[in-house]
């Protein structure tokens, strides 16, 4: 495993997915990219930089540092943001984007690792792109899952059958119960 401090790739993904305004949510953070089985991205505030540099200079790598931003991939979607980052961005923007709000029953199913179906989608927030990141938000406004969109626009939602998939879940919070401590951290099911 190797980690590299600095580089703007993650910010480019944030701007592409959530708009330039979303960059305000990650202002002042320095990314660190750790390459192992996956490429994990962490965002560090200034007080953490010195410690991470010391660790890396000694030939070690941090196991976890700062804000976990998500995972970079070589194929589409190129970046899967963590639910923590997505929620931080929504808080900063004061609105939802790239999101589907789910009913209570739909959220329950998602937390068992299932996909969000049309019958459980109560509202939708553009932009939405087929095959790209879409978050699942609960009735309380919290992000419960991040997944891949099966629709290319919110308009399409009305044309789906009840049991058609809207979001293919990639990571859901139920993972913290199901697999939070298992050896292989295949949190993102891709």
């Amino acid at each position: 495993m190797k980690c590299v401090l600095g580089g703007g790739e993650v910010f480019a993904h944030v701007a592409r997915l959530f708009g330039e305004e979303a960059l305000g949510a990650v202002e002042g953070y320095t990314p660190v990219y750790c390459f192992g089985v996956f490429t994990e991205v962490y965002l560090l505030k200034e007080p953490l930089l010195g410690a991470v540099e010391l660790v890396m200079r000694s030939g070690r790598v941090p196991y976890f540092a700062g804000l976990y931003a998500g995972r970079l991939r070589s194929s589409r979607p190129a970046f899967i943001p963590s639910h923590i980052l997505v929620e931080k961005i929504y808080r900063h923007l004061g609105r939802l984007v790239r999101a589907v709000r789910g009913s209570e029953a739909g959220i329950k199913a998602v937390l068992y690792g299932r996909d969000l179906l049309a019958e459980s989608a109560t509202s939708c927030y553009e932009p939405v792109e087929l095959g790209d990141v879409l978050s699942v938000v609960g009735p309380d406004g919290r992000v419960y899952a991040v997944g891949l969109s099966r629709i290319s626009s919110c308009e399409e939602l009305g044309r789906l059958g009840r049991t058609d998939t809207v979001v293919k879940t990639v990571f859901d919070l139920g993972w913290y119960l199901r697999g939070g401590t298992v050896p292989r951290e295949v949190k993102y099911r891709l």
């Binding site: 505030k45 410690a51 010391l54 941090p62 976890f64 540092a65 976990y68 913290y176 119960l177």
Partner: protein
């Protein structure tokens, strides 16, 4: 019970700790009597443990109270995580709608004792998954982060951080500012640490899987504060794991003591002059607590014991044990017992490095 008193100051302790603990072992074995054996048998303990509890508490009547308290379940406690939910009330209200009832922990502003369980297990609610709270099996674990008194600008070391209850608490007290370096060696426990840091929205922590004994060579005296919640025999949480009544021998205790001394010395070395170290265990064994602190302090110059400031009426540290006297300063350390404070058996000691 108590034979010839053996009194030592700090410097003598360092050279003599193994002799002292051997002496404790000899005196302990010679203190066995029928009443202690009967009590041990009635509650299912090894006899040597009951003998030690009598020595710590002063009489068998109170030992019975302790052993009876160890038979009662500990009330669960939650610490609401303001890093993920801005309002403490919001989480409490959401859980109350699930049927839970709480009473406030009077000495910790974010924490509540569970008085009545709700429809969904506390480890599986949406609020838990959203990082709304950390679940404790007793309240005493809330004490070490409080007496560490971390400030938002501090560099803090959490030397045995997994699974992360105290680390996430420290992060909350620092409002996600400053720096926490969290170390632990166990691969399995480290995954739990990562999960908890992520779930609880902690942003000010760098987690490194390493033995904390190597921290000083990597960081030098980098930290203003450090917590060592040391791996221990768990002799204070028998309510949670009754197998502990019989699984630890006196030799196991001595082995734990030696390891804890090494960990504490390293933790002290990683802190800058003027800095503070909190040492804690979920054990009531003086071998793992006062003897560990005494030896670590004796090995280093310029470390003093400071009374912990927390809203719990802590019992003082043990300074006489089977006729062996430890430095009086150790009275400033704090202890909790289930039959006295209603908390799990716990030990906490605040140390300060002179200078800075």
């Amino acid at each position: 019970m108590a034979g010839r008193a053996t009194s030592l100051d700090w410097s003598e302790v360092s050279a003599s700790y193994s002799r002292l603990l051997e002496e404790v072992g000899r005196r302990m074995r010679s203190s066995v009597d029928l009443r202690a054996e009967e009590l041990a048998s009635r509650f299912g303990y090894l006899t040597y443990m009951v003998i030690r509890y009598r020595e710590i508490l002063g009489g068998l009547d109170e030992v019975v109270e302790l052993l009876e308290a160890f038979e009662r379940p500990l009330p669960k406690t939650i610490r609401v995580n303001t890093l993920r939910f801005g309002r403490v009330d919001e989480v409490v209200e959401r859980l109350e709608r699930l049927g839970y009832a709480f009473s406030k922990v009077p000495w910790e502003r974010f924490s509540y004792v569970v008085e009545r369980s709700g429809r969904v297990s506390l480890g599986a609610t949406h609020e838990f998954l959203l990082g709304g709270y950390y679940l404790y099996r007793g309240s005493a674990s809330l004490i070490p982060p409080l007496v560490l008194e971390p400030r938002e600008s501090d560099r803090v070391l959490d030397a045995a951080a997994a699974p992360g209850g105290k680390c996430t608490h420290i992060a909350q007290l620092m409002d996600n500012r400053g720096l926490i370096v969290a170390t632990d060696v166990s691969r399995e426990r480290f995954r739990a640490l990562r999960t908890n840091l992520e779930r609880m929205g902690v942003e000010n922590t760098v987690a490194i899987r390493m033995d904390c004994r190597r921290v000083p060579e990597l960081f030098g005296e980098y930290f203003a504060k450090a917590l060592l919640d040391a791996p221990c025999t768990g002799e204070g949480i028998i309510q949670l794991d009754p197998t502990r009544k019989t699984k630890t021998t006196f030799e196991d205790l001595l082995s734990a003591h030696r390891r804890q001394v090494e960990l504490l010395v390293a933790t002290l070395r990683a802190v800058a002059p003027g800095g503070r170290v909190v040492y804690s265990t979920c054990s009531i064994a003086p071998e793992e607590n006062e003897f560990t602190v005494a030896e670590a302090v004796a090995r280093l110059e310029g470390v003093r014991v400071v009374k912990p400031e927390v809203g719990v009426d802590l019992d003082p540290g043990v300074t006489e044990y089977f006729g062996v006297e430890l430095p009086r300063e150790l009275r400033l350390c704090g202890r909790t017992y289930p039959h006295r404070q209603g908390l799990e058996g716990f030990f906490v000691c605040v140390l300060e490095k002179v200078g800075g």
